[in-house]
């Protein structure tokens, strides 16, 4: 279980690291051109946005788990569950809230 969480954490981190420069660049474009914003309405782009948000939630959850294990004197298995739950909740909540 912990291995799975760790792998998701790593892969989502890589995805986010690759995404960030694009995000910063796109931000410049989006705010100059409404046509760019219109492009983001496309379903494939929406899917990408949703995937990035889920990656963010997963990475945050996995990261909170690492911080908990490294800094808090709790029982190991509890920490794992807590953060995984947090990540999933966050992901689901955001995905729904964004109603993509």
């Amino acid at each position: 279980m912990s291995q799975w969480v760790a792998h998701v954490h790593r892969l989502s981190g890589v995805a986010l690291a690759l995404f960030l420069p694009l995000h910063f660049w796109a931000l410049g474009n989006a705010l100059q051109l409404d046509s760019f914003l219109a492009w983001t309405e496309q379903p494939l782009v929406k899917l990408g946005e949703w995937a990035i948000v889920v990656a963010l939630a997963a990475h945050l959850g996995g990261g909170l788990r690492v911080l908990a294990l490294e800094f808090l004197p709790l029982l190991d298995w509890q920490k794992s569950l807590a953060a995984v739950a947090a990540a999933l909740t966050l992901a689901v909540g955001l995905a729904l809230a964004l109603s993509l």
């Binding site: 912990s2 291995q3 760790a6 690492v66 294990l69 490294e70 800094f71 190991d76």
Partner: protein, 231 residues
Amino acid sequence: MRVLVKRSSAVQEFEVPRHPSQTVLDVVTYIQRKLDPTLAYRYACRVGMCGSCAMTVNGVPRWTCRTHVDNVAGNDELQIGPLKNLPLIRDLVTDMSEFFDKWARAQGRFQGGRTKHDDFEKVSPDSPDRKAADAGIECIGCAVCYSACNVVAANPDYLGPAALNRAWTLVKDARSVDAIDKLRAVAGDAGCHACHTHMDCTERCPKHISPTAAIAGLKRATAKAALKGEL
């Protein structure tokens, strides 16, 4: 049942009779004594005290003397191999030298400051430091955790969970005079900072030690020492 043994050259298949309360060590011993005397493997106490019989059973490192066949032989089949992450000598026997070399590199040995002329160090068993040390001192160096660890597989320099766990118990030992040297030895790319808390070590340790917790302690201790300029 069907037993697939990963030997030096190839995987060899054996047919082994099943018995109640049979352990995987019983199976390996049966193979070597009755079917193929050329099979090389290690064991000693066969009662779960020495750790010599550690092997990979169905992909997972375990003490074979403490693994009941009934718990692992799904579909009446078993897969047995040598411990991972260690060089192979032959068949099921691995070279443990690097495991113990890393133990030494992590300064996994006690250094005290008192002589027989001094009074005893008074260590309360209830003190947080002693409790932290006690949580890790039962390690018998069986290398199951080392074999389970992904980072050991990916990073050949990584000292590994057992060595780091031992270093932690000594850092937490009130009688140690060289705690800071130990922290220096375990900080770095090959040390505690390479651990990514996959927790395979904690999950597989037959003594229920948590090297993850020990390594987390080392991370905190090295950070504190670095901030104080002591590292």
